[in-house]
């Protein structure tokens, strides 16, 4: 059968915040743009974000500005961040949020009519633009409606809504395609993408010189996760297989507060806004245990008594913030330790209580979805009793290594933005910094792709052999009657959860790598029963390749990094090590099957950015040599 074929200038894979913002930019630059996504338009993972988007607008506290935001971001990431990305992010986030307002977003307001901003862990000032606790929905709907607005413009001028921007929904990309020669442009440049329609199982081919990956994260490799089925690390794997590099894959954020009960909703997120708005963590003895877990590097920034912490909510100038608002890695480890020490809640978490802290009406107004979620799913009324919560796999800091300014990956024509890209958040992401990251770098990647296309002498060509190979690969599970893919998936999830989770040890991670090797063999044999029409078993069989590749990256990098930092905690190497701060671990797959990891030195921070910090603080993170060079 002939494969359906489309020609575009830019193909954006992913319709979350990053993908939509990239596509809007590419279209605004006059490029013919396709948006491809696995779910329906408007349902990408971004829709689930709750707390808000961080941007130093200074609406609530006028002392806030990009430099404070930059410092907070670097501290949160334990200085491993790509500082250029952190700089661009802090400088541009406010403009990106304001732009949403001009596209119809309705954020919650301050008294003087500006966008309201809320407190969040690791942010010095109230900084998160939000809409109750459904900010992601507002963000995605606004971008979706902006895409529609552009389509309406195109209808006016060209008589066709889809003349310049078209959404291919419920369509999954399984391979990126490259030019085999260097006749048409740079050698090995991107020439398109191959995928299948979920609805029919038919194949589709995009002929395009630029591809923007905006596929989100990898959480579905873990059992307990806040992530949806879409998070199978597709973009990470597509990039690897196309010859690009991944960095920081050992850093995974376990959000401290996921639901722990009932079992079927275990892992579903309880937003950090609960703590930002006054909620506190207690153990089974009723103690606010976080006061015992303030690490040295943060000692002077957090309250040491409950009284001071409580005063901070109303008077931030004269008090320090409560330790419940430490960066997420700290809080997650603390909860883990309390539970291990036998001071957990009956269902294996700790207590998160807002019921004794705010009036019931206020809770319902500020945290409507949390109220709804607990009432409907767990029969718990959060205005009357505490929630039980525990850590859940939430976000991957690691991803495609990109150029900060353009989002370009190592392969010509390949760009990446959002959760699938790496560097911006270093070893740990601050809450609220993802939604702003999507907007800032989504726009930059869309622009980068458009400029790349403008500069190309000719369109790279799609090689028929690679299309045939992609087709054979996709059909294989349907032609076998082997093991059920759900079983392989489940074993992978358990392995990663138990052996490469919050706290890691060399033996356990090595064991996980052995399991992954065996699972790779089993994946070669899994079969999918049924037809090609909307067949979830078949889809999962194809996703397994990606999950295994990505899991291998996570485990290999985790084994090599002999220190504990942010989202990577080694039981056998508990401290942070400045030598390791300078090093990135770069994953690649030269043969398309096995993962290799190499060390790479981070470039030193630019002088003017370096000078934004107190030397005393930098001493906690940087080597003597680095400190000396900067003098």
């Amino acid at each position: 059968m002939e494969i359906e074929r489309h020609e575009y200038d830019v193909v954006v894979i992913g319709a979350g915040g990053a993908g939509l913002r990239a596509a809007i930019e590419a279209r605004q630059q006059g490029k013919r743009t396709a948006i491809v996504c696995k779910s329906l338009f408007g349902k990408a993972h971004t829709v689930m974000a709750e707390g808000g988007a961080a941007a130093a607008m200074g609406n609530v506290n006028s002392d806030d500005n990009w430099m404070v935001h930059f410092r907070d971001t670097m501290r949160g990431g334990k200085f491993l961040n790509n500082w250029r990305m952190a700089e661009l992010h802090a400088k541009e986030a406010a403009d990106r949020v304001w732009e949403l307002e001009a596209w119809g977003a309705l954020f919650d307001r301050t008294k003087d009519g500006k966008i309201s901003q809320r407190n969040f862990g690791g942010h010095e000032y109230p900084r998160l633009a939000h809409v109750g606790d459904r900010t992601g929905l507002e963000l995605i709907r606004t971008l979706q409606q902006r895409v529609v607005a552009l389509q309406q413009e195109d209808y006016e001028t060209h008589g066709d809504y889809e003349a310049y921007i078209k959404v291919f929904q419920e369509c999954t990309v399984t391979r990126l395609l490259k030019d085999a020669s260097s006749v048409h442009g740079p050698a090995g440049a991107i020439s398109g993408a191959f995928g299948y329609w979920r609805e029919t199982g038919n194949f589709i081919l995009f002929d395009a010189p630029a591809v923007v990956l905006a596929t989100g994260g990898i959480g579905k490799s873990y059992v307990v996760t806040s992530n949806s089925w879409e998070y199978t690390g597709d973009g990470h794997a597509l990039a690897l297989l196309a010859g690009a590099n991944l960095i920081n894959m050992e850093f995974i954020q376990f959000h401290p507060t996921g639901m722990v009960w009932p079992p079927s909703v275990r892992g579903i997120l309880v937003t950090e806004s609960v703590r930002g708005d006054g909620g506190v963590l207690r153990n089974s003895e009723g103690k606010r245990f976080m006061f015992d877990y303030i690490p040295d590097v943060f000692k002077d920034k957090y309250a040491t008594t409950e009284e001071e912490g409580d005063r901070w909510y109303t008077d931030q100038a004269n008090n320090r913030r409560p330790p419940e608002l430490l960066p997420r890695d700290e809080v997650a480890r603390a909860i883990n330790a309390e539970v291990k020490a036998g001071r957990g809640s009956p269902q294996g978490g700790v207590f998160l209580d807002v019921s004794t802290r705010l009036p019931a009406e206020e809770i319902k107004r500020r945290l409507p979805s949390m109220h709804h979620q607990f009432k409907e799913l767990a029969d718990v009324d959060i205005t009357a009793e505490p929630m039980q919560v525990g850590p859940t796999c939430h976000y991957i800091m690691g991803g495609v290594e990109v150029d900060a300014d353009t989002g370009a990956a190592a392969v010509p024509g390949l760009f990446a933005a959002g959760e699938v890209s790496g560097g911006m958040h270093g070893s740990n992401r601050l809450g609220g910094n993802s939604l702003s990251d999507l907007l800032v770098f989504g726009r930059r990647a869309g622009l980068g792709a458009a400029e790349y296309v403008n500069a190309l002498p000719a369109r790279p060509a799609v090689a028929q052999e690679s299309v045939d190979a992609a087709k054979a690969e996709a059909l294989a599970p349907l032609e076998r009657s082997g093991e059920n893919p759900y079983e392989v998936h489940h074993e992978l999830q358990r392995t990663m959860n138990d052996l490469v989770g919050i706290i890691r040890k060399a033996e356990e991670v090595s064991e996980a790598l052995e399991v992954v090797e065996k699972l790779k063999e089993r994946v070669e044999l899994v079969g999918a029963a049924g037809s090609r029409i909307y067949n979830p078993g078949w889809h999962l069989a194809l996703d397994l390749r990606n999950m295994l590749l990505v899991s291998e990256c996570v485990a290999r990098a985790a084994l090599l990094r002999q220190e504990s930092r942010g989202g990577h905690t080694r039981d056998d190497f508990p401290g942070m090590n400045p030598e390791w701060r300078r090093k990135l671990l770069v994953c690649a797959t030269p043969d398309g099957a096995a993962v290799t990891v190499e060390e790479k030195v981070q470039p030193p921070m630019r002088k003017d950015l370096f000078d934004l910090f107190d030397l005393g603080e930098l001493k906690k993170y940087l080597t003597e040599e680095e400190l000396g060079n900067a003098e």
């Binding site: 304001w98 732009e99 001009a102 929905l137 507002e138 607005a149 049924g530 029409i533 909307y534």
Partner: protein, 250 residues
């Protein structure tokens, strides 16, 4: 505390299909979507169902459970008797693709027909000033997760294919109301709501409001006020302009 439940699930593709019987394990705290997933993992690997968030936030898992439009991920098994047979079918108003998955493109088409947010030309990003009370009405409508169950249940199109071209459905009539109530929107919305998007078809039965998982008061807060605005406007075209100017200045 687990037990075996009896399920009837609609299965089929290409316009044909039937209810299939299943007996399946149910554990404490589970929702209907969990049971569908268990069927996939153990008995019917190719059973098609849409879902994403499993927390009532994305509006993907709309289905009809015992004939009522519901989100599968927010319907707890404990709301049924253990010996009750639970029937799960796809949304009826939209063509079935396969099993529980329907073709909802009607909704995307309607979304596109409604003119987008139109701010005054002279307000730049960052200059918007709005009071919380003035945005609250539209914010209620923006809670919509686009599960399309209101459009599915509305009798104007539920069994009347012929009305589909002329009627945007409650979801998108509400979108018009949302824009009309946006403090900075300057586009004309009332005549077009009535004449192009079928507001007049709605006879305020409130079925849409009843099924909305976000508990949005679609009829009372969006459709009825919109009908009133249409009537006002018919009597006095200056009311609309006056309202906009007044609101902008206040």
């Amino acid at each position: 505390m687990s037990y075996k439940a009896k399920f009837k699930v609609w299965r089929g593709e290409g316009g044909e299909g039937k209810l299939e019987d299943f007996t399946v394990e149910v554990n404490e705290g589970e929702v209907v979507l969990d049971i569908i997933h268990r069927l996939q993992a153990t008995q019917a690997p190719d059973l098609a169902v849409r879902w994403n968030c499993k927390a009532g936030k994305c509006g993907s898992c709309s289905m009809e459970i015992n004939g009522k439009p519901r989100l599968g991920c927010m319907t707890r098994m404990s709301t049924f008797e253990e010996d009750e047979t639970i029937t799960v079918t796809p949304m009826r108003t939209f063509p079935v693709i396969k099993d529980l998955v329907t073709d909802v493109s009607f909704n995307y088409q309607k979304a596109r027909e409604i003119p987008s947010f139109t701010p005054p030309a002279d307000v730049r990003p960052g200059e918007y000033r709005m009071k919380q009370v003035d945005v609250e009405r539209s914010q209620e409508f923006r809670k919509c997760i686009e599960c399309f169950m209101c459009n599915n249940v509305c009798h104007v199109i539920r069994d009347h294919e012929e009305n589909k071209p002329a009627f945007a459905g409650p979801r998108f009539l509400m979108r018009i109301a949302e824009l009309d109530m946006h403090p900075y929107d300057v586009a004309e919305r009332k005549d077009s709501a009535q004449e192009q998007h079928g507001l007049g078809y709605c006879n305020i039965t409130k079925c849409c409001t009843e099924v909305c998982p976000e508990h949005i008061k679609i009829t009372d807060n969006a459709l009825i006020p919109m009908k009133e605005r249409v009537v006002d406007r018919k009597y006095d075209p200056l009311v609309w302009l006056g309202n906009k100017i007044f609101r902008r200045k206040s």
